[in-house]
Structures are given as structure tokens and as C-alpha cells.
Assembly symmetry: C2
Homo-oligomer: 340 residues x 2
């Protein structure tokens, strides 16, 4: 977080909408890599409350109520506030100012073509009643990325168009001012792909009721494991089985003993390995994975004042960074400067 290092190290920006507890899907796809990235990168994590309001305008309290929860999840998984700046965008006016400037650099037609937005509009059933803020949120996200001068943005593959939109705006701005004022960003898409839900559906999601929260109790973990399938078509132990089901996917994602998992997969494919044995392995793997996270979360939950101070300090630091970028952009565009 030191300002001298910030100039030389690549900047990573990530974040989540504070709309509910983080789950294994977040951990696998993003949180785990953030914990690694915070060493050697200048890392910022946004508790994206302003973005969450774009489809929760009727219920801002729901968003606010999850801000501290999200911070607890971050701290619990090992995001270290001495290495990562955790901040709250609704308290960063420079992001709004940069968004307003960026909105002039992108057409409505371009926003309407954004595949992520098209999918999300459909998923939310907005029909014709799309909030303007929702259509524009990729521009706000571009402003976030640009304001922090982020060059690496860990996102799911479905979010790649957001980075393209950011770079389109950045390129237009850079072309206009005649030099590389802002850096382009690169999406860092996890090799592991998306984690399926415990019910086997493609995406783990709280709204689909197939998520295992990072804060899950032991009983909740056991119940989730009971819901998983190894291979529903594997009826007799002696038959060959397929390893593409949820249980092996989770073992691939979370079992630290990769050799044993590889052996089990080979055995299962050949036949002779029972589903109960495989699931029996998954349960302790998940219990072991989540126990320290749950314990750390509980410890932080007893230090809520410290958590609030972390958000305050992180947001203050972020304010300096984002304001500096905004000032640079305004100056390069030649906007009116008030007399000193």
C-alpha cells in the first residue's frame, strides 16, 4: 500500500457486491487468488455498494447491512489489510466524477450490446424497466478500474466484456489526450473455471439456493455434502464411473492432496470405488478448509470496531489514489480549474 511501491508494482482491483455471504464459488474463483496476489501486487478490494444499488435501489438497507459481513468474509479468508486496501466505493466521490466523464465516451448502443449486461438484464427480469444506473454500471466499473490504475482484474470468464468496455473507454481517452494517460487492464480469468453448485447446476449462487457459504457451520457443510452427487449414473460400485460430477470437481478444487485425488479418480473411472467413499473424503476436506475461515471470521466479528477502522482507513487511502487519477484526467482534458 505504500505510495512508492504503488508506482512500480502492478495494481490489482477486485470486489464484490455486498448482497449476501460469500461462498465456496467466490473462494475458488477469486478470493483464493486475491490472497496470493496481495503479495507482490498493489491490491484493492471494493465492497461494491454503489454498484449493488444499481439493481437494489428500492432496498439500500439490504446492501448496507452486508458491508461489514463482506469485510468479515474478506478478513476471514486471509485478505490482509496491511497488504490489501479494502474500501467502500459509495464514499469515493472521484469514482462518480470519473464515471460522469466516461459516460460521454461510450454510446448507448454500445452499452446495450454488452453481453454481460444483456444476460444480467434477462436474469433479473427487468424487461423494459431497466434502471439507467444498471445499463450504465459497466461505465462505473470502468471508472473504478481506471481510477485505481488497475492493470490486472481477476474476474470470471462471463465478466470479460467488462474489461473490454473499460479498455475501449481508456483507449478513446488516451487517443484524445494524445498519450497513455491511463493504463489498459487485463482480465485475470481463473484456470479452474466456475465452481458448480452443490446441486450440480453450473453456477454456485446464493439466489439459486445451491451455495455453501464460507461461514457455514459444520452441520451445514455436512448437509451440503449430502446433497452432492458423485455420478448419478454410477449405480453399482464395480461399474466404471464418471468423475465430472460435483464431488470430484470439489475435490479437484479443494483437496490439498492432489495425488490421492488423482488415484481416486482413476479408480472411480475403472470401477470398484463406491460413491460413499468419495463423498466421505470430501466432507473432511471441506470441514478442514472452512474451519479456520469460520474461526477467523468469528474472531474478527468480536472486533467490529477494528473492522470498521479498516474500512475507514482503506477508503481514505483509496480516496487519495482515485482523486489523484481524477485530477490527472481533468487536467489532461483541460477542464476548468478554479482559482487557487
Amino acid at each position: 500500500m505504500s505510495d512508492t511501491l504503488a508506482d512500480s508494482r502492478p495494481v490489482v482491483l477486485t470486489g464484490d457486491r455486498p448482497t449476501g455471504p460469500l461462498h465456496l464459488g467466490h473462494f475458488c474463483g477469486s478470493l483464493r487468488s486475491r490472497v496470493t496476489l496481495q503479495h507482490g501486487h498493489d491490491t484493492f478490494v471494493l465492497i461494491a455498494d454503489a454498484q449493488a444499488l444499481t439493481d437494489n435501489a428500492d432496498d439500500p438497507g439490504r446492501i448496507t447491512g452486508h458491508v461489514i459481513d463482506l469485510a468479515l468474509d474478506y478478513l476471514a479468508v486471509g485478505i490482509d489489510p496491511s497488504l490489501t486496501t479494502i474500501c467502500v466505493p459509495s464514499a469515493l466521490p472521484a469514482l462518480c466524477e470519473l464515471t460522469q466523464l466516461f459516460l460521454n465516451l461510450v454510446t448507448v448502443a454500445r452499452l446495450e450490446r454488452n453481453p454481460t449486461i444483456k444476460d444480467e438484464i434477462q436474469a433479473r427480469g427487468f424487461g423494459r424497466d431497466i434502471p439507467a444506473g444498471f445499463l450504465c454500471y459497466p461505465v462505473a466499473q470502468a471508472a473504478d478500474i481506471a481510477a485505481f490504475r488497475a492493470t490486472l482484474v481477476p474476474v470470471g470468464a462471463d465478466q470479460a466484456p467488462m474489461i473490454e468496455q473499460t479498455n475501449a473507454i481508456v483507449r478513446r481517452l488516451n487517443r484524445q489526450v494524445g498519450h497513455a494517460l491511463l493504463p489498459e487492464a487485463r482480465a485475470l480469468i481463473p484456470a479452474s473455471g466456475r465452481l458448480p453448485g452443490v446441486d450440480g447446476r453450473a453456477k454456485m449462487s446464493k439466489s439459486q439456493g445451491n451455495a455453501l457459504a464460507l461461514s457455514a457451520t459444520e452441520d451445514e457443510i455436512r448437509a451440503a455434502v449430502r446433497r452432492t452427487d458423485t455420478d448419478p449414473d454410477h449405480l453399482r460400485v464395480g461399474d466404471p464411473g464418471r468423475v465430472e460430477g460435483v464431488v470430484f470437481t470439489y475435490l479437484d478444487a479443494f483437496d490439498p492432496d492432489r495425488d490421492t485425488v488423482a488415484e481416486m479418480k482413476a479408480h472411480y473411472r475403472r470401477g470398484g470405488l463406491g460413491d460413499t467413499v468419495v463423498k466421505g473424503r470430501l466432507e473432511p476436506v471441506l470441514l478442514d478448509l472452512l474451519a479456520p475461515i469460520r474461526a477467523s471470521r468469528a474472531a474478527w466479528a468480536h472486533r467490529l470496531d477494528d473492522v470498521r477502522d479498516i474500512l475507514r482507513d482503506g477508503t481514505r487511502h483509496a480516496r487519495g489514489v482515485t482523486q489523484a487519477t481524477l485530477d490527472t484526467v481533468k487536467e489532461a482534458l483541460g477542464l476548468y480549474r478554479l482559482a487557487p
Copy 2:
């Protein structure tokens, strides 16, 4: 401008895009009434640079270059910085923050239906390439009006939908928070209607080349009067004439001696009054109207540091007012508050 008075006096918000010199059309439709309104109202005037960027993103320097010019025009016509706060919106981050919140309270479909925006999109030939900032500028304007808690907004009749849009957002917000957090605004539409151009076309506009600038020289004024028509179908002095032409419209708008104008109109209608006589009256009326404005403008142009200080001080005052409104809105919505 004092804070105690601000609570009791109605708030008037007006402004202009700094895209060129103000002209007689502005004077007739808006500036004149602002000079009156500044007595007895808490009056704010925006040099709307951020809004002007929504269709000038390629050339921000053009906007910035007109900021001081616009301030000179304001001061020249008698807008008194001790009575009216003149400010620069691009230096008011609370306006952007409120815009971002408001964007979530209006649908894209609603913005696309806005008749003013539809007309302006057509006039600018945007086709499908409408900048997102342009589609959204009524929301930014709503945020301006709301941020200053303006209740009276002097606008042309064509801008009335903008005030409706503002009130729709304000009502939705007030409904959501359960009380009249922000006041609704009323459009103050000049009774005189729109001033035609010197060529007789319905609207005086710099881009149509039919405007007479407030800063026009005597020669420019005389040339403009020569271009005007009294009644193009009035061929013989003795014939009855029509008084709906530009010359009588201008006399109605600017001649302080209304009785004489009424007599001349009656005479012209009867027949027997020559066009040269009527135009001969208009010329000194316009020369007399614009001479003190031009002189005042020239005097202020020698005090540019003072003009810049006026903008700085006005913008500082506006910053306090708009930030206070934003804080109230954020608190009422229950957004996350950073630890002190």
C-alpha cells in the same frame, strides 16, 4: 446567499452551457428574469460545463474556453455575485454522486421517452451513436436541481419535461424514505415566449447564425437590425401591415416605452407607417439596451482575476450546499457510513 436566509427564501436554479456567447434570446427568455429574481430568492447560476461535455466530449477545451466568457456575460447583464451564487458544476462532486444515485431511480425507457432529449438527439444528428452521458443528462440535471433544493427553475417551454423528470425522481425518492426529503421544483416559463432569430426563424441560436450576441458591437447591432423584417408582405406604406414580424417582436420585448410601441403597432396595422420608421426605432432601442451591457462586460474583462475569484467563491459556497443535500440523501437511504 446567507445560510439563514437560504432556509426561508425560495431557491432558484438556472444555468447555461458554456458553448458560446449569450445573446438576446437568452436575455429575453431568462437572464432578465434572473436579475429580478436574485432579489428575494436564493439564486444559483450554473456555468454548466459538465452538462456541455455530454455532447462535446471530443473537445472539452471548447467548453473550458467559454467558462469565463459566460461569467462575463452574467456579470455584464447585472447578475450580482453578492446576490447570486455563480458556480462551476465540474468542481462539485456531490452533483455526480447524487446523479449516480438518481440513475438507479429512473428507467432507460423513461429517458428515451423524454421529448426534449428526443428532439435534441435529432437536432444533433446522433443517430444510434448517442453518448450515454447525453441520454442521462436529464438525470444529472435533476441531481443539480435537487442538490440545490431549487423550487423555481426558469426554463424555456421546451425544457419543461426536464422539470417533470426531476420531480418524478424526487417523488420516488421521497416515497421511498417516507417523507418529503427533497422539494419538488416548478418550471418558471417566461410569458413572453421564445425570441425569434434576426432572420425571422423561430429560435435565435448561435449555431443557426441568426443571433445577436449581448457583447455585439454597435456595427454588429446595426447589421443585425438591417437583416430583420417588419412585415415582408407590407409593400406600400399606405397598406395595412402585420405586426407579428421580428421588428415589432423585438420592440415588444425590449422597448421600454410600451405606449409608443402600442401606438406604432396600431398605426402599422391601419397602414401609413413605413418599415424604415419602425426599424429606425428598433436600432436605438437595441443600441441603448446593449451599450451598458457591453460597457460592463468590458470593465469586468479588465478584472479577470476578480471574475475567477467570483467563480471560486461561488463554487465553494455551492459545494457546501450540494454536499449537505447529498449527505442528507445518503443518510436517509441508509448508505454505509465510514467510522469517524
